[in-house]
Symmetry: C2
Subunit: 176 residues, 2 copies
DNA sequence: CCACCCATGTAACTAGTTACATGATTTC
DNA sequence: GAAATCATGTAACTAGTTACATGGGTGG
């Protein structure tokens, strides 16, 4: 499993509380991976048992607040995992199943839902493009920045692809 | 959950044994959704309990072979589910996490793995394009065929996007 | 003082994966 | 007669979701 590795990566970038991690996860890795706080706390507890991370109480913070930091063993594990091959993920999309159902049993009125999704994709694209302009519009970028930009570009290309596809789908579904 | 709905859709298209379903799933819906035979048999058993499908022994087939057929209640459920909104899926890709780790802790030699994936995407694209030519190259397509083509086009666009992205990634990672 | 955000967790359930198990039929 | 494919399943585990629960701090 690799939610642990995703969290480790976040913690290597910046030590955080579970709550902060959940927030940050939503905004960075969360672009292509969502995790609930319940899952995050569970994995943090496991990683602490394994010695990959260490938590300490935060003085002056809210009651119970703990700061998690990646340990040496965690960083080594991250390197080991990163070098391991992994299969490209599938794009498991319920809409494709619904379209097959529509083709098999007759019109199900999916256009409205595709229209709704189109707007979601357009919004996401705008969000990404804002980040692009803010963080990556300089002419020269460090290797690190180029790699972070690469991740963003995967998101941008994905949303653009979905937008084009949705428009194609609407044209077909809305033919009289 | 909707593996049940994906299986139902397959069964509406054509009554099948669990084994055939697993095979067909791999080749159609499986383009964007994989399920093991264990999962499939489990869900078929549940759906039979719910009355969505019905199985019967196949005369003259192999010992134990059963044919599953979608029932009226199953088709109604499929319609109900199809009309329900659902969120677009995320593209949970471990490679994005690995790239972030690379940016955070230094070069991890990911180029080789991206090269390997590039070839997988190119192969998948060729497979899709073969289907495209075989099934959808006629000038006029029925509504049903247009919808099935639409699903294929989502796969084609996805693979093309991944190929372009992988090439971009390689250019960045292989800079000296 | 009320709503909202920060902050952490437990419990129960559902979905997906991996390992193990069995045996018949077809093809070479 | 051996290997591949057809055909079905159980068991155990891992991952992800949903519901419930608690309480402190901040802003209006």
């Amino acid at each position: 499993m690799s939610l642990q590795h995703a969290l480790l990566t976040s913690l290597v970038e910046k030590p955080s509380s579970g709550y902060e991690l959940a927030r940050r996860f939503d905004k960075s890795i969360g672009f292509f991976w969502h995790a609930t706080h319940q899952q995050i706390y569970r994995e943090l507890a496991r990683m602490e048992q394994q010695g990959w991370v260490k938590s300490s109480a935060v003085e002056g913070g809210r009651a119970g607040k703990r700061l998690f930091e990646a340990q040496g063993a965690g960083q080594e594990e991250l390197q080991r995992w990163a070098r391991e091959p992994s299969e490209p993920s599938e794009l498991r999309d319920e809409m494709m199943v619904k379209l097959r159902a529509d083709a098999a049993i007759g019109p199900l009125g999916l256009a409205q839902e595709i229209e709704r999704r189109l707007q979601l994709h357009q919004q996401k694209l705008r969000d990404y493009q804002e980040i692009e302009e803010r963080d990556f519009s300089r002419t020269t970028l460090s290797r690190e920045a180029q790699i972070r930009y690469l991740i963003l570009k995967a998101g941008i290309a994905f949303e653009q692809g979905r937008i084009a596809w949705s428009q194609d789908a609407l044209a077909i579904l809305l033919q009289e």
